[in-house]
């Protein structure tokens, strides 16, 4: 009996969160369309989400590309297919690894900050103060953060694609003595802009929407002082990352 109670409670909480997500998605969309458009704030958020994340994304994708090359070379060598390392690295990076790993890193870096910032504003009544000054908090706080994330994620992923492929090239050519010309040739031979690169960028934009909205809603709904802010921040990263992985599966399955 106790087990059913716990499980039921868990299911209800998850459903509640999903409902809340879509409710806030609707409100964000409605308020995004209405003036005033706060362009300076949008640019500030784009710098925070995009520009400031460059080092983290750079290192993540660089090492992912490098380790991909190492691992596939190791495996492919067993049936003398080393020539295809470049293709495998390029395809797996653009379609999957670069979008997902970038999203996870940015969720940890930016999503946590968003939740903590909005959470602190909630518990110190700054969000109420916004409302009292005839400023809709969803429009002022959530719209620029979500818009910036949707806009910047594809750019970060595009950079990640390039950096990761270069990492793979470095390892293959410098460390494993692959032929640089064939490696590059094979890297681009099977890579198509529409199916591979673009599909990765679409994923990136969706991930940007998912992680930023989850982080903002967790922060916005914060209750209970400093402890509540901590809880919201953790939840933003945990549910943000999990939802990114979940969305990734369904996006891959449905669209590509």
């Amino acid at each position: 009996m106790r087990l059913f109670e716990v499980l039921g409670g868990l299911v209800l909480r998850v459903l509640e969160q999903i409902g809340r997500f879509f409710q806030m998605l609707g409100r964000t969309a409605v308020w995004a369309a209405r003036p005033p458009y706060d362009v300076p704030e949008l640019l500030r958020q784009m710098v925070r989400v995009g520009f400031d994340s460059i080092p983290v994304v750079f290192l993540t994708t660089l090492f992912t590309g490098m380790v991909m090359a190492l691992q596939t070379y190791n495996g492919f060598e067993r049936f003398h297919a080393q020539g295809w390392v470049g293709s495998v690295v390029a395809l797996s990076l653009t379609r999957e690894l670069s979008p997902v790993l970038t999203a996870l890193m940015v969720t940890g870096r930016v999503g946590s900050a968003m939740a903590a910032e909005l959470g602190t504003m909630r518990v110190t009544e700054q969000i109420d103060a916004l409302t009292s000054l005839a400023t809709e908090p969803v429009q002022y706080l959530i719209v620029p953060r979500v818009a910036a994330s949707v806009a910047m994620m594809p750019l970060l992923v595009l950079m990640g694609d390039a950096v990761g492929m270069y990492g793979g090239y470095l390892v293959a050519v410098q460390l494993l003595d692959a032929n640089p010309v064939t490696y590059v040739d094979n890297s681009f031979k099977y890579l198509t802009v529409h199916d591979d690169i673009l599909s990765g960028l679409i994923k990136a934009a969706v991930f940007g929407l998912v992680f930023s909205l989850i982080a903002c809603v967790r922060g916005y709904d914060t209750r209970g002082g400093a402890e509540g802010v901590g809880r919201s921040t953790t939840q933003a990263v945990v549910s943000g990352s999990l939802t990114v992985l979940l969305t990734d599966f369904f996006l891959t399955k449905l669209l590509f």
């Binding site: 005033p36 009544e125 409302t131 009292s132 005839a134």
Partner: protein, 269 residues
């Protein structure tokens, strides 16, 4: 409950009910505040005074009942129209609730910039507002660098910047020393003089209520127990009001707690 008032009612609460879970916080509250009048609502801590104040500006939605602002039903409006109606309000929060990522100047300028004033207008109005609350030379400071009394006054300046018709004060002098408490009361009176605004103040500090309010109402157990002009309020024979005015531990306001307090302390062996 409210006496007939000569001036038209600016702000009306009609039978407000609100519960959080099974805890009833507001249990049928009605009052009206005339244009230009100042109402002070007193009551012990934890009786939902702040909750009541947040209902008036639409920060909390009542379970039932209405809030009328200049005759308009706040909760009959869409979110967009509500926002427009809120321009009539200025609210000061308990701890100031200043935007801590902005300087003092930017805080006060916030409502002005949002409503599209020119930079020159913004500068002039911010200066005016900071003068009204007697703050000088703190424009470029961050809220964290200010004392409690200063933060409170920056909050006031921000609340009056867009020239609201209704001012709401949530515990304006909680946590301040007695001198600063009185200074804050004086500032509120000056603001009232200069803005001619309708004012609702929530406080548990009797001297402030007496100084600021044209009328004092007492909130307890989710209801307004008593409502009268200050002198009459102080003379009231209502036992609950008497207990609050005199600040005694025992009485109808602390029924359950009084018993606990009267019990002898357990002996420590």
């Amino acid at each position: 409950m409210s006496e007939p008032v000569p001036a038209p009612a600016k702000l009306v609460a009609e039978d407000l009910h609100k519960s959080f879970g099974d805890k009833v916080v507001l249990d049928g509250i009605s009052f009206s505040v005339a244009d230009g009048e100042s109402l002070a609502i007193v009551g012990p801590s934890g009786t939902g005074k702040s909750v009541l104040l947040k209902h008036l500006i639409g920060l909390i939605r009542p379970d039932s009942g209405r809030v009328l602002v200049g005759g308009q039903d706040l909760w009959a409006l869409s979110g967009f129209e509500q926002n427009r109606l809120r321009r009539k309000f200025g609210m000061s929060f308990q701890e100031g609730a200043l935007f801590d990522s902005m300087t003092v100047f930017e805080n006060v300028a916030f409502p002005l910039r949002r409503s599209g004033h020119s930079p020159a207008q913004v500068r002039r109005r911010v200066r005016e507002c900071l003068d009204i609350v007697h703050l000088e030379g703190v424009d470029d400071k961050r809220p964290a660098e200010l004392s409690g009394g200063m933060r409170r006054r920056v909050g006031f300046a921000r609340a009056i910047a867009h020239e609201p018709e209704i001012l709401l004060f949530d515990e304006p002098n909680t946590g301040l020393d007695p001198i600063m408490t009185d200074i804050i009361d004086e500032v509120i009176l000056e603001m009232r003089e200069k803005t001619k605004a309708t004012i609702v103040t929530i406080t548990h500090h009797m001297p402030s209520a007496r100084k600021i309010g044209d009328r004092i109402a007492m909130l307890f157990g989710g209801r307004l127990l008593f409502e009268a002009p200050p002198e009459e309020f102080l003379r009231s024979r209502d036992p609950a009001v008497r207990q609050f005015v005199e600040g005694r531990a025992e009485g109808p306001l602390t029924d359950g707690i009084g018993e606990v307090l009267r019990k002898p302390l357990p002996e420590v062996s």
